[in-house]
């Protein structure tokens, strides 16, 4: 596939890894923010290619860029409550089906008779609402900024078409506040960030220079293919070795400084900023989007009266510390015992690119 295969060349990968090995003189820790990047790193074994000697190493810390991992427990519980209702067709991206709520997950609700359907695009949920006027169609609108344009367009179209049986349960999260929260948390070990390439294709890169300056960290906007990741890591290491802390765009074929302004306009119309609780991390102010007042009628929380649901995290689950990079999965007391991929306590074990699941699979298989 064009614009994909070229960025998987093994010989170039070897050279990039060798170059990183050549220039590194100290131990560095780089956080990739995006779950898709974590998935690619693990799936391609890229962390295996990075230098790992005493005093000269590049360690990747898997960040909280996985909406599966950080969607608040309350949101999952609200989703479960709505999905169990007989009049509801509950639509979700596949990623969310196995995320544990306080007691169960969407898969189990489906098994118990709930009409839960995996969709590829939020537009599929809107089409379903058109085709099934006698049912209530609810879409679980999670994700980072990348998915917001799609979710925004879905509800905008629903409004334009005058649909009265379509609502969304919204739990969008934003990257810049997350970076800030990580840099402010005591004990963090992050020296540099790989910013999420597709988030930036929507939002641009203009939000990142203040963060780089304030916290003194290089931020390299990076893609997802092996060569993109290795190049992003290389540029971050160059900056670290040279003592610089700037924003660089290593994914320029897709990302521009201003981003997609048409998408940003629709997002501004449909969504409004809100405080958001990040699972395992806590509430980060203004770190999420909710439906704007103009779109309140499409808010599933209001339609189904679930706004009051609150949840308490398992005290055993340390996914917050893992997400912030202050704890390695195998340092968690529950790792491999109460918490395994088959019986996950938190989302970092559920998601196949969650740091805990990745560690578990690597060691235990």
């Amino acid at each position: 596939m064009k614009h994909l295969a070229e960025y998987r060349d093994p010989e170039t990968a070897r050279r990039l890894a060798a170059e990183i090995g050549r220039i590194v003189t100290r131990p560095w820790a780089i956080m990739e923010v995006c779950g898709g990047q974590t998935h690619s790193i693990i799936r391609n074994g890229i962390d295996q290619l990075l230098p790992d000697e005493p005093g000269r190493r590049v360690e990747m810390i898997h960040g909280p860029g996985c909406p599966v991992c950080v969607t608040p427990l309350e949101t999952i519980d609200k989703a479960l409550a709505i999905a169990a209702r007989p009049e509801v067709i509950f639509c979700s991206f596949g990623d969310m089906l196995r995320v544990p709520g306080s007691k169960e997950n969407l898969f189990q609700v489906k098994g118990g008779g709930g009409d839960v359907r995996v969709v590829y695009s939020p537009l599929d949920a809107v089409k379903l609402a058109q085709r099934c006027p006698e049912r209530e169609v609810v879409f679980l609108a999670i994700g980072f900024e990348t998915t917001a344009p799609a979710n925004a367009m879905a509800v905008k179209l629903a409004k334009e078409q005058g649909l009265t049986n379509f609502t969304m349960l919204v739990s969008h999260v934003l990257v810049p506040p997350a970076i800030e929260a990580i840099m402010r948390s005591p004990g963090h070990r992050v020296n540099a960030f790989l910013a999420a390439g597709h988030v930036c294709s929507v939002m641009g890169t203009w939000q990142y220079p203040p963060l780089a300056a304030r916290f003194g960290v290089p931020i390299v906007v990076t893609g997802f293919e092996p060569l993109d990741l290795l190049e992003g890591i290389r540029r971050a290491v160059v900056q670290l070795e040279e003592g610089r802390a700037e924003v660089e765009n290593a994914y320029s074929r897709v990302v521009s400084e201003r981003g997609n302004e048409a998408a940003q306009r629709v997002i501004a119309e449909v969504f409004a900023p809100t405080d958001r609780a990040w699972r395992g991390i806590g509430t980060i102010p203004a770190s999420g989007w909710r439906l704007s007042d103009a779109y309140r009628a499409f808010d599933a929380e209001q339609r189904f009266g679930v706004a009051g649901i609150t949840a308490i995290e398992s005290p055993l689950c340390k996914s917050g510390a893992v997400l912030q990079g202050t704890l390695k999965p195998d340092q968690c007391p529950a790792f491999g015992k109460e918490c395994t991929p088959r019986t996950p306590l938190g989302a970092t074990m559920v998601s196949s690119e969650g740091a805990c699941a990745a560690y578990y699979n690597f060691r235990h298989g």
Partner: protein, 86 residues
Amino acid sequence: MCLAVPGKVESIHDDHGTRMGRVNFGGVVKDVCLAYLPDIAVGDYTIVHVGFAISKIDEASARETLRTFEELGILEEGLAELRDAP
């Protein structure tokens, strides 16, 4: 977050006021919403996430990126020569 795949726009049409396209991903064709790329044209490559095209792929930047990888290879050979020189 953000599984987005590159594809080539094969045709553009209107679906009740929404700009849609048929995009070819290595032989797999899917309908994609083009509302966020008003300037995209047939023959362009785009990145698609959950059924929406969110960015046009800039061919010049792509070539530039691949060129820097090639230069890295030349650099590496040069360094090896220096290392191995008597």
